[in-house]
Symmetry: C2
Subunit: 420 residues, 2 copies
């Protein structure tokens, strides 16, 4: 087994492995669903949202006051005020639109529509009212204190382009322009298969030689944050047939399958062979120039992506960040806009607390713990210990990427930390 696996390793750089893999994933067959706009927060829009009617749908008063035709009061002044007859009042309850003639005005409340022939609203402070008459003390320019019909949005223009990940204000906006339903991409379903004879489920007390299976919960959390639905399968023993049948079963209900563990080159690592033996399978990469996690396995079975993630917690999570995340984002219909990317990958600059050595030829991901010093400078303390230690993931705040061609970083170097 050991030899077989080694014979045909497909080793390549992170970038080429990832690009090859992403290129092979088609977005064509991504499905949509109709959901209530109220439930659409953080979902990804499947089609453009069009404006149905002009916004505002009418010329609208922006203050309480009197709707007037500005041209008819152009020459008014305190000493020679133009006198207008107030023929009606329009407020939020009014439904009929009146019209004013030359020497008329209508009292309006903020938000009310304007009568016909009016183009501006004059504040109560700039008139003297006497019964049904106002004396206008000041002229106004056309459009004063009025939101024109269609000034905000014009019917049939695109309001929100498809593929946006909907923010709270987008949800409000879609509701505000009159939609109750919205078409969004279906959430990709990701199955996580934990493998390993040493694993026990969360509700079992582990023996001295056993470990509680926890990688699946870490992956599940990230998948949910990225807009996917995660299913954690039952733990699978290190057994070729069990791994094979578990992948097959998972594929029936998933858009992406993550096999956690069993993809290294040990005597009990069956993921690679399991995938090879499944029908319609294709290996894109099974050795990548990355640390930790070089034994990542990128494959397709029945045209669906299947990723083998190394079992050690740090390698597991790092590999998911580097390979699983972009795959999941593509399956979710997530846009590749710079501002969405910025929201999905939060970074900050810090200064290295100590030297890090890095092997040349491998893209290196180093966990760091961040502390703020007295002057507010952020210092990154690297962890270079065991990738089997889940605790360093918990104690660290982010990762620093060291490019393949770089052999290390010095104390005091400014580094970009990806917060996780």
């Amino acid at each position: 087994m050991f030899e077989t696996n080694n014979l045909d390793k497909i080793s390549c750089s992170v970038e080429s492995a990832l690009n090859d893999y992403l290129d092979a994933i088609s977005e064509e067959h991504l499905e949509f669903e109709n959901i209530s706009v109220e439930d659409s927060l953080s979902r990804i829009l499947y089609e453009d949202i069009m404006v149905k009617i002009d916004q505002p749908p009418f010329d609208k008063a922006l203050i309480d006051g009197y709707a007037v035709n500005s041209s008819k009061i152009a020459h008014t002044s305190i000493t020679k005020p133009v006198i207008l007859q107030v023929i009606a009042e329009i407020n939020a309850e009014t439904k009929n639109r009146t019209a004013i003639s030359d020497n008329q005005a209508v009292k309006v409340s903020k938000g009310a529509f304007l009568p016909e022939n009016a183009d501006s609203v004059i504040s109560s402070e700039d008139v003297v009212q006497e019964n049904e008459i106002i004396k206008v003390l000041k002229s106004v320019s056309p459009g004063t204190c009025v939101a024109k019909r269609g000034e905000d949005l014009v019917a049939s223009e695109v309001f929100i382009k498809k593929n946006r990940k909907l923010r709270p204000q987008d949800v409000g906006g879609i509701i505000g322009i009159g939609y109750c339903q919205v078409k969004v991409y279906k959430k990709p379903v990701v199955s996580i298969i934990p493998t390993g004879n040493e694993l026990v489920p969360i509700d079992v007390e582990p023996d001295v030689n056993q470990i509680i299976s926890s990688n699946g919960y870490v992956l599940k959390g990230f998948i949910e944050q990225l807009g996917g639905t995660a299913k954690i399968s039952s733990i699978v023993k290190d057994d070729l047939n069990q791994v094979k049948s578990s992948i097959s079963k998972a594929l029936e209900v998933s858009d992406l399958v993550l096999v956690s563990g069993g993809c290294s080159a040990g005597t009990k690592d069956y993921t690679l062979n399991a995938i090879r033996e499944l029908e319609n399978s294709k290996i894109i990469a099974n050795e990548v120039e990355i640390r930790p996690g070089s034994h990542i396995l990128l494959a397709f079975v029945e045209n669906k992506p299947v990723i083998g993630l190394p079992g050690h917690p740090v390698s597991n999570m790092t590999s998911f960040h580097v390979f699983g995340k972009p795959v999941l984002k593509k399956l979710a219909g997530t846009p590749r806009s710079f501002w969405q990317d910025r929201k999905d990958t939060i970074k900050l600059d810090a200064f290295l607390a100590k030297k890090i050595f890095s092997p040349e030829g491998k893209e290196d991901y180093v966990r760091v713990r961040l502390l703020e010093d007295k002057e507010g400078k952020i210092i990154a303390y690297p962890y270079t210990g065991q990738s089997s230690f889940l605790s360093t993931l918990v104690k660290s705040h982010g990762i620093v990427k060291i490019p393949a061609e770089c052999t290390g970083l010095y104390q005091g170097d400014r580094v970009e930390v990806l917060l996780f």
Copy 2:
């Protein structure tokens, strides 16, 4: 009404209003709940998580190989190999711990515990095996390929400090060290009361003078993203008694009440007076040096925070960001660590596309739309239009804050954009 409201305005800077308000909110009475760790993603830890048993719980092999006592093979070499007897095999299924004596070794699988008296694991590649005997070709230093008991975590140390917002790896970590349940802060319940005669609910076709109530959905989205539970109350008419009774009812089931609209100084703005007339109420600020949204209302009723947010969508959302968000974070038990803050408020640097004027004495929040130019430079296009236009919130990517003492920014200025 207009005069009454104006008579006793409590106008102050954003910073002093917010600090006074936050200081008056006690964290003492925040409650916890016990939940399944599996459901604890993004919840905030109420008490420290302690390590129950050493991790690893035993000295553990990091590779497949032979467990040996390094001192006994210190002088081995290819020409004069030390010969050891392989007395047993330990793998993930083994439950009994054997012991080795001076000339003995045990075959171990990766992840298995070491026998007594062994301190290192030597790779199969560095030995020649013949039946029950190995010839050791290379010496190893103590601890080679072994994770020592407690090397990762020591029993009774603090694993995660309270008040952390749990990330996926924290959830996995807590599961990994043997917890099924975890104590987290209860999610704060926020009631949102939409007020305004012009508003209709989402499922009603608006008349020409009506508007679909949408602010509540924007607020709800932000509240959920911040870890709160949002309840949108029925729309309340501009009527003093209705506003009063709606606030009273909401307070019975909420930790924070947001009244949307009705807090300006118009004839139909009843929020301020409604709060004043309720028992045990206290106004902290009802006029703040901010734009948009100076008519923000910060109050307490029955010791619970009640915030009156201006009704125009842009003012509504901006006020919530500036005042509502920090209040909600405090009620949720969210830590004020720099890295959690960085995750909650994602910023990027951009260059202003055109001049912005800003009134002196008011902290100004300007929406910007971001575009990347050909060289990858991010350009911020400001919107300075109507705060009644929900669409500008949808079209913009973030806000730029202009300090009160600043009277404007120039084209080309580097600005920090808070993404929303």
